[in-house]
């Protein structure tokens, strides 16, 4: 136990001398890194604009209120597209994520040496790139539109769903699998009766959770041209139609809140 020897006897302390020095050095380094980073940001900023910001914000606020309520008539189709992008994208992603998850889970992969790393690479690479970047890429390849949005959402979600799913598969109760195997079931039957029922609740939870996230993400995909309400947002921003922008932001906010409520309800019902 680290103690300080004082004339009145030893006093307890949390760390030894070396530990506290190391701790202090760590904090110093961290602070220095932060200060350097802040310096970089500060250098790249036009501070005049920042001091002017309250006036600009007030200006935008007066331009944006009240929202142009009539415009909502034109938002029906984009909202439908947005919901479709999220839903179909999630379905496609789940369809693709299930095999990837089974290949990536240690207890179901056919080959831990060759197949598993490939599946993990698919998971990491699809997960680390944002759906907006996937959308940019897919628009260059297959052209702008809802289809590119669906594909972008689907690809981005594969990694997310597969990662959570393979972790669920690795945590299953092995005895149930053994019991099914003992009846002489084939590989596929073991999967259908031993593994799938155990991961079904996790699967449903992941699906709804990801759907909720995808609703959020699909609202902004239109900014790069991949369909949905973001398209309207982008054109309103480009024409400085602030009353339309504020209405679109309100609609997005409502959509996000509703989707979160729905997903919380469904997850509550499942678990």
């Amino acid at each position: 136990m680290p103690v300080n020897n004082t004339p009145d006897g030893p006093v307890w302390r949390q760390r030894t001398q070396a530990q506290s020095l190391l701790h202090w050095a760590g904090w110093l380094l961290g602070t220095a890194v932060f200060v350097v980073c802040w310096q970089q940001i500060s250098d790249a900023t036009t501070w005049f604009f920042v001091w002017d910001a309250p006036r600009i914000a007030g200006d935008i606020w007066t331009r944006a209120t009240p929202p142009r309520w009539e415009y909502i008539a034109q938002l029906g189709r984009p909202i439908w597209d947005t919901i479709n992008i999220a839903t179909l994208g999630t379905l496609l992603a789940l369809f693709l994520a299930v095999p990837v998850a089974f290949l990536a889970a240690r207890n179901t992969t056919p080959s831990a040496l060759f197949v598993r790393p490939v599946a993990l690479l698919v998971i990491v690479s699809t997960r680390s790139i944002n759906s907006l970047i996937w959308a940019l890429l897919l628009i260059a390849i297959i052209g702008p539109g809802v289809f590119a949005g669906i594909m972008a959402i689907a690809i981005r979600s594969i990694g997310f769903c597969a990662k959570l799913l393979y972790e669920a598969i690795e945590e299953i109760d092995q005895r149930q699998v053994e019991a099914i195997t003992a009846t002489g079931a084939s590989r596929w039957q073991v999967m259908a009766y031993g593994i799938v029922p155990q991961i079904m609740p996790a699967f449903a939870g992941i699906a709804v959770f990801r759907w909720d996230i995808n609703i959020r993400e699909s609202t902004v995909l239109g900014l790069v041209g991949a369909g949905g309400i973001g398209l309207q947002l982008s054109s309103s921003l480009n024409t400085l139609a602030w009353p339309q922008v504020s209405l679109i932001l309100l609609v997005i906010l409502v959509a996000v809140v509703i989707s979160e409520w729905v997903s919380a309800k469904i997850r509550g019902a499942i678990i």
């Binding site: 961290g30 890194v33 932060f34 980073c37 802040w38 970089q40 940001i41 500060s42 790249a44 900023t45 036009t46 604009f49 920042v50 910001a53 600009i56 914000a57 935008i60 439908w80 597209d81 479709n84 839903t87 179909l88 990491v124 690479s125 997960r127 680390s128 790139i129 944002n130 907006l132 970047i133 940019l136 890429l137 260059a140 390849i141 297959i142 052209g143 539109g145 809802v146 289809f147 669906i150 079904m200 959020r216 993400e217 609202t219 902004v220 900014l223 790069v224 947002l233 921003l237 932001l249 997005i252 906010l253 996000v256 809140v257």
Partner: protein, 270 residues
């Protein structure tokens, strides 16, 4: 023998249905099918355009085997550095702000007015997408990493405070009460009764959030809020797939490194 068992004997076992109520099962099934048909029918796909584009897709995939780091290296380097700088600064500030808000949003610590205010801040931050916040902040503060830094800090607050508050709400009350029983003041109570219980999870979540912040910082450049996104967008617009592939590879490598690091840190603190 009961008659129920009698009727079951001799019949093959059937898997119980996922949804027990028959009418609900049919309703959900038919509703889902109708929605799917309507949704798929409303998508217009220009297959000819897709067919032409597949060529470009193949080029892009090939570019991954031959990424070009060199010809735009100075742009890539500047963008990456800016992304990292934004991530570090925003994570530090975001985490520092989200701790008091997380404390305020825990219903077992905070008085009701404070609780409501903090929950309101969290709800606002979670409901607004990063990229939308970035658009507004770019309009207000001008182009550059400051808008990105503020966006990421704001998003960090919503994420971290909510999870921290939930962790505090589910903590072990008896430990906190034991500290309180020694006559500790409010700060001592937080410091010795609450903080040790939530610290491992807070560190884990913070590492995870740094990871997310870096990923998000890669797209903020699309709307002018600094970072690698602007370079990436330009590369796509100019069909320089080899440069785009290089940037994407760098992003993936950094995210993987961060995940590995956070795995080590989380394993150590838990």
């Amino acid at each position: 023998m009961s008659t129920e068992l009698e009727t079951l004997i001799g019949r093959p076992w059937r898997r119980p249905p996922l949804i027990r109520r028959v009418w609900l099962r049919w309703l959900l099934g038919i509703g889902g099918a109708v929605y799917l048909v309507a949704a798929i029918a409303s998508i217009e796909v220009d297959w000819a355009r897709v067919w032409i584009g597949l060529d470009r897709g193949a080029q892009f995939v090939l570019a991954f085997t031959n990424p070009d780091f060199m010809s735009r290296w100075s742009d890539i380097w500047a963008g990456m550095l800016e992304s990292i700088v934004m991530t570090v600064a925003a994570s530090v500030v975001g985490i520092a702000i989200s701790i008091p808000i997380g404390l305020g949003a825990a219903s077992n610590l905070a008085p009701v007015p404070v609780y409501l205010i903090c929950r309101g801040i969290i709800a606002l931050s979670r409901a607004l997408q990063e990229i939308i916040v970035a658009i507004l902040l770019v309009a207000i503060f001008g182009f550059g990493p400051l808008a990105g830094f503020l966006t990421l800090s704001f998003a960090t607050i919503g994420f971290l405070s909510k999870l921290l508050a939930e962790d505090i709400e589910s903590m072990d009350r008896s430990q906190a009460e034991a500290v309180r029983a020694t006559g500790a003041g409010w700060w001592q109570w937080i410091n010795y009764g609450v903080q040790p219980q939530v610290m491992p999870r807070l560190i884990g979540l913070s590492m995870y959030r740094i990871d997310i912040n870096f990923r998000e910082s890669a797209i903020l450049g699309l709307v002018g809020a600094g970072g690698i996104g602007a370079t990436l967008n330009t590369a796509f617009d100019r069909y320089e797939y080899d440069t785009a592939a290089a940037i994407l590879i760098l992003i993936i490598v950094i995210v993987m490194a961060l995940e590995y690091l956070s795995g080590i840190v989380r394993a150590r603190v838990q």
